[in-house]
Symmetry: C2
């Protein structure tokens, strides 16, 4: 059996339309998958009527409330019990779904996932781990979530979860793990990195390759980029902001003269091809790991393509039993340590 995936159709910038498009495509591509759409039934039925799809594999659950990015996340999750997000997360809690995909408020998705779905056995904290585009294959940046000021033992678990994810969902064999640091020598770093480093070296279930300076991240030097959530958040958002600014400046330069405009036309095709490699939307969204199920945060402005990719991502996660592998992996590590 394939994965049972909830798509939260409210809260994203592009509305329910892209969710319906993505769901229909996902169903077509992945025969085992079934989809539950949570949102405004009337609107969803109307949108769905335009497509052909296997009706046995798609359900709509009507919800009367919506969580927006203006809501205080924790409060919203507690109070808006009939919101598309909360109803969707409860589907996982009640064993009726395996995964949820949402383009809604990051804070609410993270808070809801912790409160409603809950941590899997043995998991100390649940990290959010987006993929970063690099010059090589994408790297998993773990953690960018809400676990600021995390402890060393927590970071070690993140390294293990990230490795299991990259191996099973992204198909990277023996993925390399590096910890973000301000130099590559072992004695470098802040208090947290210095205490975490030896624990990572001892951890047999990961392929730890030492420290990574942030300068090396875009080159694709490691498959799993381990860091505490504050630093991870800074890296993720700087990645986005700097790429955007540089590309805008370059576009501006291309449009600045008649000659450069002509040149821009000629390089357009090659440039588009290159830049599409940096488009994360075909990789799905950022998984929140270590839950009793899977919650995937896609971009607020996600389109059909990103929703469909997230369905594929969830399906692989479930088929490869990543949750089970994480639980057993952490258990084995605990036994190893208590010897």
């Amino acid at each position: 059996m394939g994965a049972r995936i909830v798509i939260d159709t409210l809260g994203g910038d592009n509305g329910a339309q892209v969710c319906v498009e993505g769901a229909v495509e996902g169903l077509k591509k992945h025969p085992g998958v079934s989809v539950i759409l949570t949102g405004k039934k009337k609107e969803l039925d109307k949108l769905l009527s335009k497509y052909e799809y296997d009706k046995n594999r798609l359900t709509v659950i009507d919800c009367t409330e919506e969580i927006t990015c203006h809501d205080a996340p924790v409060e919203a999750v507690k109070k808006k019990k009939d919101s598309s997000l909360v109803v969707g997360l409860n589907q996982i809690k009640e064993g009726k779904a395996d995964a949820l995909v949402s383009a809604g408020s990051s804070g609410a998705v993270l808070a809801g996932a912790s409160f409603i779905v809950g941590r899997a056995k043995g998991v100390k904290r649940t990290p959010l781990a987006p993929l970063l585009p690099t010059a090589k294959t994408p790297s998993l940046l773990i953690d960018c979530g809400a676990n600021v000021d995390a402890k060393p033992e927590v970071l070690v678990q993140f390294a293990q979860m990230g490795s299991i994810y990259m191996q099973n969902v992204m198909g990277i064999k023996n993925p390399t793990v590096a910890i973000v640091n301000i130099g590559t020598e072992e004695e470098k770093g802040n208090a947290l990195v210095k205490s975490t480093y030896p624990l990572l070296k001892e951890c047999k279930s990961i392929n730890f390759i030492g420290s990574i300076e942030s300068r090396e991240i875009p080159a694709g030097k490691a498959d799993v980029i381990l860091t505490e959530a504050f630093v991870g958040n800074v890296i993720l958002k700087l990645y986005e902001g700097l790429s955007k600014m540089l590309l805008e400046e370059i576009k501006g330069a291309m449009k600045s003269t008649v000659v450069s405009k002509a040149g821009a036309l000629l390089i357009k095709r090659s440039l588009k091809k290159t830049l599409s490699r940096f488009d994360a939307s075909n990789k799905g969204g950022a998984p929140m790991l270590g839950l009793k199920g899977l919650v995937v945060k896609v971009h607020g402005n996600a389109k059909k393509n990103e929703i469909a990719s997230a369905i594929e991502q969830c399906n692989r996660f479930v088929k490869k039993d990543v949750s089970g592998k994480i639980i057993r992996g952490l258990e084995a590590q605990n036994e190893e340590q208590s010897k």
Copy 2:
């Protein structure tokens, strides 16, 4: 009288040649300035013989040792007493110079500056503060130095020093200060940011505008970007690494087909103009603030242009009495707090 500036001619990737070229240009442009070159006298004299310059304003001090990036910084500074860096820093200590510019090992420059030149009165820690290129004017990123895990009071001093620097050396009136955070709401952040935020709000001598997410840094949202050194180092190096990777990918795309190559020729000129705005070398180097004098770290691969700009930067720093302003500013703040 203009500034008396030491140029450490050893340790940079491009050797003494670029230091001599930069010094000669600096002397020409800034009539009040005098320069002391520390390094291999024989080589320096030979290089200097090719240029015309005011011989009364340039001195060479012969040094028998060199600190390289392979040396352990602290040890090197303590043991290599006749290195161009240590001899240069001693010139400041002995009151014979006001500032030093070095392209050598960052670690050794930072360690040497602390040990030999020492902190100015009232300064808790001495931050390293490079300028970041943005879509607007450059922003000062403070701190990227060796003060990891700094305390809130230390960050407040950094905000004050950064503001004084931007106002006096970069000519920004009433510079805005923002603290790097993972959200813009006041309750967001890690423990350090949460304790520092209220202190910044109370500090009357700075123009504090709240939190900044790293995504907004490239847009030029604040003049002084305040952060603890670990995060600052991550930001600085990611800025460098990501810009480099993106530009290489774009260059690769331009060269990928015959058509795109033709296009690249047409946009070359406009693109060069745009990218030169992102070239930090015409802004001098990263100042280390709060010392009894000024130490400027230029890039390891600095060329003539960057050395000459650093001379200008040092000259402004000295002429505007930035050190004095920092000492008096911190004193006033202390008095304010003890009221």
